[in-house]
């Protein structure tokens, strides 16, 4: 069985990360796309490592070095948890390839195990990116003995197990609940959003407590923070005691619990695998259709309606692209309830909201536009628009319109809340609406441009397109740049009115949008494959 698992994991990884395309494809464009994906991933990894290094350094500098391991465990676990909840549905419980594999002489347990391991490998990479830099910082300043490094090295492989277990259990629970409902996807989206928001709020809550430093109360703060981490994530106590106090019993307990719960989960999933897969893939059929009067619409409207239905048919697509908007509205409500000053402290953005609130809103709106994967998500159906008598513009406009339809109501809702929350000039109020609107439009059009150049039609799981595509990574980089540049300018040119900087930014972005939009529409769909 081990041989089967090894083979299946190899095949899954080759498929997921484009390894075979890079090695064997004769299509230079596809090979370039794989390398672009790798480079984008590397850049994001570098940014993540920098963040963790600075975080560990900061904690060390304020005398909270002892909580670094537990803190890193907490952050890593939360990130893995959020990323794994939806992956569980689209990777672990994917029925399509299961049906093909089960007809071969492969044990079902091998299929389940291989899928867990494929997910696990990705999470170990994430764990490496957080544990290694934080351990180095801790090692440089605290000079622990060699056991610390041995235990941290072991921990890299253990950290993902518990959050993966929790994520899979939650994923299965969501499936169990939603499969009994009429609107399965809607229930999945709502439940997943609530859980993700809870995880994010928890992590922000933790961050705020660690940076709101009163130097006279560091010892007290350390105790509060430690207690909070332990309360939120009990295994952190065993882990921390094991690493910091070199308590072998605690560390062994952490090892055994991590491996134990994971193995238990694998056994349970294996036992209920087919039932869970069937619940996901079951389609209600009414078989009682009666023809009614039909209505005609324009080609653009037809494509737009089709795109909108496509969007809401995929919970992973909605979750990934709408989370920024939901966060924006939640932040606006929090601002109304808590006040701007307290929210700035909670989000570790002292002074930022006062100076560049429209930019903060735009940042939340434009990270992952729906357009970034809307062409790839056509998948095997890409032949339909290509063979139809419609212009490239009509097809692409419908995809842009969907992103605007999703994003703009959230912007207006947030602006209304902010109108009753903050006091600013008329220009300030206009900017609150105008800046996010222009950013969303820009990213919608740029998303199309990126996806046209890096399409991925041969996918088995939507998660690969939505979460792991090169286009997605490039889009995140672009949005970080367009937020960072005016952000830095506002910080550096302190004397200049921030509204003026934002105005110049949106004029530039508006012009760029126009240029990219024209270029997109010149593309011939038959050449995109």
């Amino acid at each position: 069985m081990l041989k089967q698992i090894r083979k299946l994991v190899g095949v899954t990884l080759c498929n997921t990360w484009g390894i075979n395309v890079a090695r064997y494809s004769k299509d230079k464009k596809k090979v370039t796309n794989v390398w672009m994906l790798a480079i984008s991933f590397l850049i994001l990894a570098c940014m993540g490592v920098t963040y963790i290094t600075m975080l560990a350094y900061g904690l060390n500098q304020i005398g909270l070095a002892d909580i670094i391991p537990a803190y890193i465990l907490m952050i890593t676990s939360l990130v893995i948890l959020v990323f794994s909840i939806l992956k569980a549905r689209s990777i672990l419980f994917q029925m399509k390839s299961y049906e093909m594999l089960i007809s071969l002489p492969i044990k079902p347990a091998a299929i389940v195990a291989s899928r867990f391991i494929s997910m696990y490998i990705g999470n170990v990479v994430l764990s490496l990116l957080t544990v290694v830099p934080s351990s180095i910082v801790y090692g440089i300043y605290q000079r622990p003995n060699s056991w610390f490094y041995v235990m941290m090295a072991i921990s890299v492989f253990l950290l993902p197990l518990i959050p993966m277990t929790i994520a899979t259990a939650i994923g299965a629970l969501i499936i169990a609940i939603s499969s009994r409902m009429k609107h399965k996807n809607l229930v999945t989206i709502v439940l997943s959003t609530m859980l993700t928001m809870a995880a994010l709020v928890a992590s922000f809550g933790m961050s705020s407590k660690s940076t709101n430093i009163d130097t006279g109360a560091l010892a007290k703060l350390s105790t509060i923070l430690t207690k909070q981490i332990y309360a939120l994530y009990p295994p952190a106590r065993l882990f921390s005691q094991g690493i910091i106090n070199q308590d072998m019993v605690s560390f062994l307990a952490f090892v055994l619990i991590s491996i134990g719960v994971f193995l238990l989960l694998v056994l349970i999933v294996q036992w209920k695998f087919v039932e869970i897969c069937s619940a996901i893939n079951a389609r209600a059929t009414k078989n009682n259709f009666v023809m009614k009067e039909m209505k005609a619409s324009s080609a653009l409207m037809a494509f737009y309606k089709k795109e909108l239905r496509r969007y809401f048919s995929s919970s992973i697509y909605v979750m990934n692209t709408a989370i920024g908007y939901i966060m924006m509205v939640v932040a606006c409500i929090a601002m109304r309830v808590m006040g701007v000053d307290e929210l700035e402290e909670t989000l570790q953005m002292t002074g930022v909201i006062h100076k560049a609130l429209p930019l903060v809103m735009a940042g939340m709106c434009c990270l992952i536009p729906t357009t970034i994967c809307s062409i790839s998500l056509e998948g095997k159906q890409w032949w339909i628009p290509k063979s139809m008598p419609v212009s490239t513009k009509t097809v692409l406009d419908s995809k842009i319109l969907v992103n605007l339809t999703i994003g703009y109501p959230f912007v207006f809702l947030s602006a209304i809340i902010l109108f009753f929350t903050i006091r600013t000039s008329i220009i300030g109020y206009i900017m609150l609406v105008l800046v996010p609107i222009v950013y969303i439009l820009f990213m919608s059009v740029v998303g199309i441009a990126i996806n046209l150049r890096m399409p991925m039609f041969n996918w088995e799981s939507e998660a690969v397109v939505v979460k792991q595509s090169g286009a997605g990574f490039i889009s995140m980089l672009v949005s970080l740049i367009i937020i960072a540049v005016p952000g830095v300018l506002i910080a550096v040119l302190g004397n200049m009115d921030s509204n003026s900087i934002m105005l110049i930014t949106i004029v530039v972005l508006g012009l760029l949008t126009l240029l990219v939009y024209r270029d997109n529409n010149k593309k011939v769909l038959s050449t995109i494959q």
């Binding site: 009414k286 239905r309 063979s387 011939v524 038959s526």
Partner: protein, 237 residues
Amino acid sequence: MLQIKNITKRYKGGKEAVSNLSLDIQAGDIYGFIGHNGAGKTTTIKAVVGIIDFDEGDILIDGESIRVSPINCKKKLAYIPDNPDLYEHLTGIQYLNFVGDIFEVSAKDREDKIRRYANDFEITSVLGDLISSYSHGMKQKLAIISALIHDPKLLILDEPFVGLDPKAAIILKNTMRSLCEQGSAIFFSTHVLDVAEKLCNKIAIIKNGKLMASGNTNELTKGQSLEDVFMEVADHA
């Protein structure tokens, strides 16, 4: 109606999938396109309907080049692929309505045609269900209906009989004949030589991307079965 003029399609790496291929399909023709797996049938068909680009030559539909006036050309044709990958998140009726909108079929017209063809193919009751719940055959029937609702002048089908039940296959054959009698042209690929022999007035045989034989079915077979002719051309040419 359809002129394929010396088209060549090379895939990445330089391999020629279709080599200098020329065909002339006229109104009223039911033109069969046969060949081994990988002979270049699907590539040719995809180039004709504008799904893939080609490197040399030209394709004219009703006198217009698919490269110069793709939208005008596509308005006149309908295409049914070998694998009916349709929008799974739409219901059958939503998909047909979508196609009707794109081809600008009036609401009344599309309603009449959907009613008629859906009844013929016996899928009216499931039109309100998501396409993802359909079997392969049902998807194939839906693809056929969507191709027929705008009265195409040129109908292009890639292996249309795969997955169809016997009754649906008979209805499709009759519909193809009826369309041709009304002046449309049909160009389709198939591996079922028996069907091609009985249904087509013209046939083309392709091997390794090159046209090996073409012409009127009767002239091509000369009293032999199409199976014998095909084996002869495919093995010895």
